[in-house]
Amino acid sequence: MQRVILRNKNKIALVIGILIATAFIVKWSTGFMLFFEWTLITASILGVLPIAIQAFQALRVKVVSIDVLVTMAVAGAFAIRNFEESAIVTFLFLFGAYLEQRTLNKTRSAIRALTEMAPETAWKKMDDGDFKEIDVDDVDIGDVLLVKTGAKIPVDGTVLSGEGSVNEASITGESLPVLKDMSALVYAGTILENGTLQIAADRIGEDTTFGKIIELVEEAQDSKSEAERFIDRFAKYYTPVVLLIALLVFAFTRDMELAVTILVLGCPGALVIGVPVSNVAGIGNGASHGILLKGSEVISDFSRLDQMIFDKTGTLTIGNPAVADTRYYGENIENALCYLASIERESDHPLAKAVLEEIGQTDFYPVSDTNVIRGGGIVAQVDGHRVAVGNVALMEQEAVVLSEAVRGDLHQFEEKGYSLVLTAVDGELSILMGIRDPIRPGVKEDLERIKRLGVKELVMLSGDNQGTVDVIARELGLSKAHGHMLPEDKSAYVKEQIGKGATVAFVGDGVNDSPSLATAQIGIAMGSGTEVAIETSNVVLMHSDFSRLPHALGLVKATSRNMIQNIVIAIGVVIALLASVLFGEWMNMSIGMLVHEGSILVVILNGMRLLRYRLKS
């Protein structure tokens, strides 16, 4: 019975709305007072039912909810035979709740769109070798699953057989399909555009990359800032206090009308819901633009940003370096190239890949006694020679003589913004390679926008040589650029800036920059949805798309403003209502409820504006 009533709350609101309207029409047209009264009594009783049930459920677990206040207010109005007010208050309360539900659902729509991309079923290979469709929740690690053309890949897994092209836009933002065959990794939530695959489930449910993204966004929306936690604590005691005040007022003044009005006006609404609504809408907007914001604390820090520090490779540049120019010195160049390739083949440094691509097919020699010098390069024995591959500092350390002509070339390469890789064989310089990593298109304009949004300092940190770094900094209009930095130097720099009282964001690719991402107040990872990036940072640019950065900054500023507006509206309404009870003649229960519900709708609608937020260019 209780459930039937609660489930039909909205219909009840409609019925009592009609009853109230009929009652007033009859009163004005015929003056038939008995009908007027009885219609309103019916409406009041009908309307108070769901509210009273909710109040009772709350009281049973010792919570004094708004429903308790409203139920008592309606009872009070009944006691003084003011059926007009009791009917109107129940109607406004139920109708307000309905509108709140509608609008709140809208603010959550962005997240829902994300969760709806989650796969629901999977075709599992059963013991008899046939495939059967099962719920994705029932998939276990190690199960063999069949993915058909057009279907969503249900879990993170490894391809066992078959091949096909997969659209991974939901994870990486890259909409060009990727070919997957034997032993390739596939991700839940991505779509197999053609072909069929059999995969082994490696990670399921919330442990998949997609599951983690969803969980992250959901948790972010509910994470509470200091201010919100305060409001929550406040709200917990607020309602019982209002109840007490109303009882005291009645005890001393014997004025039921006033006591009832206080009960209605005392309902906290806009204050409790205002801040979360801005939060949900702001984070939702971000999610639909490929920006994951981890919670409201991040929003408030991020909006006060005064320094943004960038990693160079893979962040400001494309991160796919290629050899642009090469100089050779001395003899035996052929051998030197083979030695260089042999050493680089064993390295996972991004520049090594570029060097190997440049050299192409060659003979490889066994490499021994490899010694990696951090921030310098590699020294190793190849074919009986001592070979050093690395930067100028390493050459100096190895006592390699750099002639005037070489220094001229070095200078020239630096001027062009190349990274330098030098190769010396037995202490003699042999090869100089200039490697260029092009700047991401549009970065310059994006940095302009960030500056216009009020970030005072833009700094670049890189492990590259200072000359190269300076060239890029000039080109992009950065305020500062520091080269020769190891990952720990970068995080030390971030720490130093925070020590000076700055609010600092670090933007990196989330793999080798984890310490800096974790140290900065706001760690922004340019992650293609990689796990490390998601875990160590506060903000993830899902599609590795630099152009989202100004949008993210603009969005957090707008969200932060929106929260403040909502707090001001909520507190303003409470003060205005209190003042009008004390000093105004016109205030009554119905108007109080109208203002109360109205203010809730105003803060929700204000929050909803964030869903449509776009950065003005």
């Binding site: 049973r60 959550r108 997240i111």
Partner: protein, 75 residues
């Protein structure tokens, strides 16, 4: 210990979470530290001892304060 992920009907009122929290607080066998209630995604996550209580008992407690459980998953 088992962990449950319970999807509720859409939560709207601010005092909803208060009620559900209070309702679950009294159930023996729920690890209170693991209890996470999400207002915006209308979800409850918790760990419970399946010797002391059951998912049915937890769902019933949520129903008693007036909320419908749409789907629950226990692992």
């Amino acid at each position: 210990m088992k962990s449950a992920n319970i999807q509720l009907e859409t939560l709207v009122c601010p005092s909803c979470t208060q009620k559900i929290e209070a309702a679950l607080k009294n159930i023996e066998g729920i690890d209170q530290d693991s209890l996470k209630l999400s207002f915006s995604s209308s979800k409850v996550k918790l760990d419970f001892d399946d010797n002391t209580t059951s998912i049915e008992a937890i769902e019933k407690a949520i129903n008693r304060v007036g909320f419908e459980v749409i789907k629950s998953r226990v692992k």
